[in-house]
């Protein structure tokens, strides 16, 4: 019998089978392989089978088996391709989940989620919107959108992505760093239109969220439960809606469409997006919680700081109260003996002629008793500085008086002291005696710090609704630590005195409700600023 085909030959020479092409030379030599790959689908082989059918009935069964085989092969191919798609999808979801799991930054989470929906390497949809539940305002709020607004823009974006082979992660990062703010601005109007109050449970968006079931809408224009303005703004027929739910809590809604290329959205896409929505929901919820946690942390840190300040203040005030009690006791038990010692010494001195050898001893007693009394007065003033006796006074008058009383000291130290007083200042409420003491202390402090030939300036002026006195010296200056210390009780860099001067000043000014500021630069000088409120 003559066969139309070459299936019965063991070996073939090139060109003998028209269905073999270049690169398939191995099939020329392998009959089994050739038969399974080519002959079973070869029309000539079928012809031969049909011819054989008449001679051998077994040959008639062959085409059935072949048909079955072909069908199985097609099925296998489809399944393989499906499997590949699934594999790709799992890999993609894995990659996205990894990033989502590690991120607590809201912007980063959103950038990645929406890039994944729109990137070719992800779901490849044209545009994606994210609506988030705003619990406080009971609103489903248009939060963010990604994608081109016009076809031209789409081309630019797609070309850019094609030119660089970015991974999904890189794309999301790029988006986060470069495009996030502009994208937010780009879709602002659209996002505002898409916001819906949660109370509108009949609205397509809210309903989808409440039902916790995704929707594939084929024609938005025929959807009754969405505002016409929203349909118009979206400008697209087909759209998928995927609710974002985390442990039954409503997080938001993801919308996606192919507004530019108008390609139909595949059912698998919706399915995968549903799977994808889970880690996204978790990540968004976590990021929101983290944001709130951060805010709370800032508040807590601030509260802690304030608490610490208050505690320090209480400790300081307790110290003050103690100082007050101690000084009152000291005053009473020391003042009387001091008065007696010093007083009698003064009495004695009057009856002692200048050439008497004892006179210098008596003078020492008088001087030292006087010094002790001064220290005692300083300590007493300190404990009394809490309640000033206030009255209206002219600050310039007070300053002139204080500087005048220091005339001798200024002359001895050869200090260049300038008064720059604004004559048009209103009167201020103050305790004249205490405030005089205060300015005197500051000036004395500056004088002692500067040594010989220093320059001192006393200025008074209006400062908004306050009156300010600025005392500037060109002494050695102080660092922050020293400033803090000199305004604390019992500190002095001087060897003389009890070191209450400036801390007493601070107390007196505090009692007057005045601001006291010390600005100092080492090697340049110190400026004391006192601001008193001007009475109405």
């Amino acid at each position: 019998m003559e066969f139309a085909c070459c299936w019965h030959k063991e070996l073939l020479s090139p060109g003998e089978c028209p269905y073999l092409g270049p690169g398939e030379e191995d099939l020329l030599l392998n009959r089994r392989k050739r038969f399974l790959r080519r002959c079973l689908e070869c029309p000539r082989f079928l012809e031969d089978l049909r011819a054989l059918d008449e001679a051998d009935p077994l040959a008639g069964l062959f085409p059935w088996a072949m048909e079955e085989l072909r069908e199985l092969r097609v099925q296998l191919q489809t399944q393989t391709s499906q499997l590949e798609t699934r594999n790709r999808e799992i890999r993609f979801l894995h990659e996205v989940s990894l990033v989502l799991q590690t991120s607590v930054d809201m912007d980063e989470v959103i950038a990645l989620a929406l890039t994944a929906v729109t990137a070719g390497k992800g779901f490849g949809l044209n545009r994606a919107f994210l609506l988030l539940v705003d619990k406080e305002r009971q609103n489903l709020k248009g939060y963010f959108a990604v994608g081109p607004r016009r076809p031209e823009e789409a081309e630019v974006i797609w070309r850019e992505i094609e030119e660089h082979d970015y991974t999904l992660r890189e794309l999301a990062q790029l988006f986060l760093e470069q495009k996030m703010p502009s994208e937010r601005e780009k879709f602002k109007d659209l996002l505002e239109t898409l916001s819906v109050p949660l109370s509108r449970s009949d609205h397509l968006f809210v309903r989808t969220l409440n039902d916790q079931a995704s929707r594939h809408v084929l024609d938005l224009y025929r959807e009754p439960d969405i505002d016409p303005a929203q349909v118009h703004t979206l400008g697209v027929r087909e759209m998928i809606l995927v609710p974002l739910i985390s442990k039954n809590r409503r997080i938001g809604l993801l919308l996606a469409d192919n507004v530019i290329n108008q390609r139909p959205i595949a059912a698998e896409n919706l399915h995968s997006l549903k799977t994808f929505a889970l880690p996204v929901s978790f990540a968004i919820e976590r990021a929101t919680l983290y944001e709130r946690l951060q805010e709370e942390l800032v508040k807590l840190t601030e509260a802690n700081r304030r608490l610490k300040e208050q505690q320090e203040l209480i400790v300081r005030m307790e110290k003050m109260a103690l100082v007050g009690r101690i000084t009152s006791n000291i005053a009473h038990s020391i003042r009387n003996p001091l008065t007696i010692i010093g007083g009698f010494a003064r009495t004695l001195i009057k009856s002692t002629p200048p050439d008497d050898g004892k006179r210098q001893y008596i003078e020492s007693i008088v001087r030292e008793a006087r010094r002790l009394e001064e220290i005692l007065q300083e300590v007493l003033n300190y404990s009394e500085s809490l309640h000033p006796t206030l009255d209206l006074w002219d600050i310039n008058n007070l300053l002139t008086g204080v500087v005048g009383s220091l005339h001798e000291d200024l002359a001895i130290a050869e200090t260049d002291c300038r008064l720059r007083l604004d004559p048009g200042l209103p009167q201020v409420r103050l305790d004249y005696k205490k405030m005089s003491y205060c300015f005197r202390s500051i000036l004395t402090n500056s004088l002692e710090a500067m040594g010989r030939g220093g320059r001192l300036e006393v200025r008074s002026e209006r400062h908004g609704d306050q009156l300010q006195v600025i005392i500037t010296d060109n002494g050695p200056g102080m660092n922050q630590e020293m400033i803090r210390e000199i305004t604390a009780p019992f500190f002095s860099t001087k060897e003389k005195g009890s070191g209450l001067g400036l801390s007493l000043c601070a107390r007196i000014l505090e009692g007057h409700g005045a601001d006291f500021e010390i600005q100092s630069a080492e090697g340049i000088g110190t400026t004391f600023i006192i601001r008193l409120g001007i009475p109405n």
């Binding site: 005053a331 009473h332 020391i334 001091l338 007696i340 003064r346 006087r370 009394e373 006796t389």
Partner: protein, 119 residues
């Protein structure tokens, strides 16, 4: 010659004030308690009282109230180791207020001023 009464529970203070004020040309009597002062005030006429506040027994402020009630025009100088008595209302009844010091010039000038006034 003006007659002064010095009231202080501290003996040496009384001596010091008496010596110094007598040197200034005043006639000075002293009392160590509020009761003794009251008795002296009943007994004799004075032109001015120098009064310590913190005393054992009757305090200077109590004595002051009595003086004000009984001898309205008698000037009183409060004299104390505590300057914070200024804030006690009853101390406002006094004509002057001097913090104790070994330097008696402030006390002396207050005495002069008040005696000038009542002349």
């Amino acid at each position: 010659m003006a007659r002064l009464l010095v009231v202080d529970d501290e003996r040496d203070i009384r001596h010091l004030y008496a010596a110094e004020l007598e040197d200034e040309g005043y006639e000075v009597e002293t009392a160590g308690t509020g009761a003794a002062a009251a008795a002296l005030l009943q007994e004799k006429e004075f032109d001015l009282v120098v009064l310590d506040i913190q005393m054992k027994g009757e305090s200077g402020l109590q004595v002051l109230q009595k003086i004000v009630q009984e001898k309205e025009r008698l000037p009183v100088i409060l004299c104390t180791a505590f300057s914070c008595y200024k804030e006690d209302f009853s101390s406002w009844l006094a004509d002057a207020y001097v913090v104790k010091s070994s330097d008696l010039s402030e006390l002396k000038s207050e005495i002069r001023r008040l005696l000038e006034k009542t002349k």
